[in-house]
Symmetry: C2
Subunit: 305 residues, 2 copies
């Protein structure tokens, strides 16, 4: 299936929309019918984690819009923008199986016409965690999400807890900019052995795939010790680092325990905390996280913006 | 008249709204009735320039919302935030006389709750003209305007050409962020002697008031020479500077000829240009400008965002 360049067409019952103007018109029709619109922004290469977001949207809204847009402004100059997977036909099949109402699939020129220079940035938080190792990444994320929200104007939008810093930053952006969209964060979906699902997992060699499970193993060990009573972040991180060291081929990017609303480091996890890890498995950068003691759990309705 | 702190009340038939949530509900009612909502964001201290915006809104929309919010984030630390005029009762009278439907009048805590850290910024343009002498000013403007747009969700919004750089930056922001609001720029309103109306004119002593007319006189001289055939920006600026020098007490902040879409300097004005001047008259900073050869004239419908 080749998507039409302008205008709409359908793939297996999913309406494919390629322009902001037509997306806005479609969303307006939904609203005019008194229906609630749920939105799942993605970069495609859909996996069961995305599909859990789609099903959450289906359960909380009357119509579901998914966007697929590999957003160039959130990739660094040396990152994997060009090789990011784009299995469009398979994505369409998955969305059709979930009876998604609209697939918003704009091209880069539609989202970033020549001369686009406006940024939305959550100052401070955007430089933490992934923002530290990927400068400009979260500025690209918040800018595209606010543009997508302006096009789709969803009642409720769904993001995965797997991207924990992104989730916190988008919640903050929605609140700070008074967006009329409720943000819902859904739990991380995992492989049976614990590896968090990611579109980048396909880059892993069989050996790397086996090693990669160490991220979730480290988080599980931290959960175990926290449940046993350990509250000191430094000690929990020491325990986690010990597990990570079992795979010396894996290069740690960050391993931090932070406040899940501000992303600022915490010393004690009693009041809830986000344990976040990022590491290079070969050349593939993977992330994972764990929310301790209800420090804003994924799932369920989140902050009403 | 004391505005109520929460909830709505009326002043001379104008509905005063103090919270984003209630503003959104009121705007939604307008839309539900199939009406178009026009919006005029202001910092109050209304004068005939603002009222021209209100009348433009009335002529192009079915319902008119005016906001009054002295936005702290667009003032520098040494600027006149605390002494900015706030004649609220007189403003209400003026709005009532124009049968404005809604006055959105939030307080600072409503627009900037503790912990607000998200900015909207038009990179590059925000550092030009007033942005050069007022660092962070336009970032504050674009952030509050996008927040106000999210609260009011207007079909069309009105700004004055007097703030030429602001007008260009807001047009750009609306386009870049795909805002569903048409931006209309209305012509500068002037005193009989040519002085551009400004809420800050009340700060001028009688003598300063007389001197201040030199800004529009310099622009008029430039217009005259441009009409006579002069196209070189440097020569036109030399002519304008000569007029400004007639008032040696006035300290020039900037005098530039730029592209009215990008605010970048131009050497030749044939294709249209913005001539912009800012100067301190005593301690009061005044600005004025002139659009040459249709370099995007004020008035009439502007870029559909």
């Amino acid at each position: 299936m080749t998507p039409c360049l302008r205008g709409r067409c359908y793939s297996r019952g999913v309406k494919i929309i390629r322009t902001i103007e037509q997306m806005r018109a479609a969303a307006r029709e939904v609203r005019r019918a008194g229906k609630r619109l749920g939105f799942v922004p993605t970069m495609g290469a859909l996996h069961a984690g995305h599909m859990a977001l789609v099903r959450a949207a289906r359960s909380q809204a009357d119509a579901v819009c998914v966007s697929i847009f590999v957003n160039p402004t959130q990739f660094g100059p040396k990152e994997d923008l060009s090789k990011y997977p784009r299995p469009f036909e398979k994505d369409c099949e998955l969305l059709a199986a979930e009876k998604v109402d609209f697939l918003f699939y704009p091209d880069v020129a539609e989202m970033y016409p020549a001369g686009a220079i406006t940024w939305v940035e959550v100052a401070g938080m955007s430089e933490r965690l992934d923002g530290k190792s990927r400068p400009g990444h979260f500025r690209g994320v918040t800018t595209i999400v606010s543009k997508l929200f302006h096009a789709v104007e969803p009642d409720v939008a769904f993001f995965g807890q797997k991207d924990a810093a992104q989730a916190a930053i988008i919640r903050r952006m929605a609140r700070d900019l008074d967006l009329d969209t409720r943000i819902v964060i859904c739990p991380t979906v995992r492989e049976p052995d614990g590896l968090a699902l990611s579109s980048r997992n396909i880059f892993l060699s069989p050996q790397e795939r086996k090693r990669a499970v160490v991220l979730s193993r480290a988080l599980n060990r931290i959960q175990f010790h926290a449940d046993k009573g350990e509250r000191r972040a430094a000690e929990l991180l020491r325990i986690g680092a010990g597990v990570m060291a079992e795979e010396p081929e894996i290069k740690l990017d960050y391993f931090e325990i932070v406040n899940n609303d501000t992303l600022e480091p915490v010393e004690d996890v009693s009041a809830g905390a986000l344990v976040a890890v990022a590491a290079f498995v070969g050349t593939t950068r993977l992330i994972d996280n764990l929310v301790l003691f209800g420090g804003r759990q994924a799932s369920g309705p989140e902050t009403k913006a």
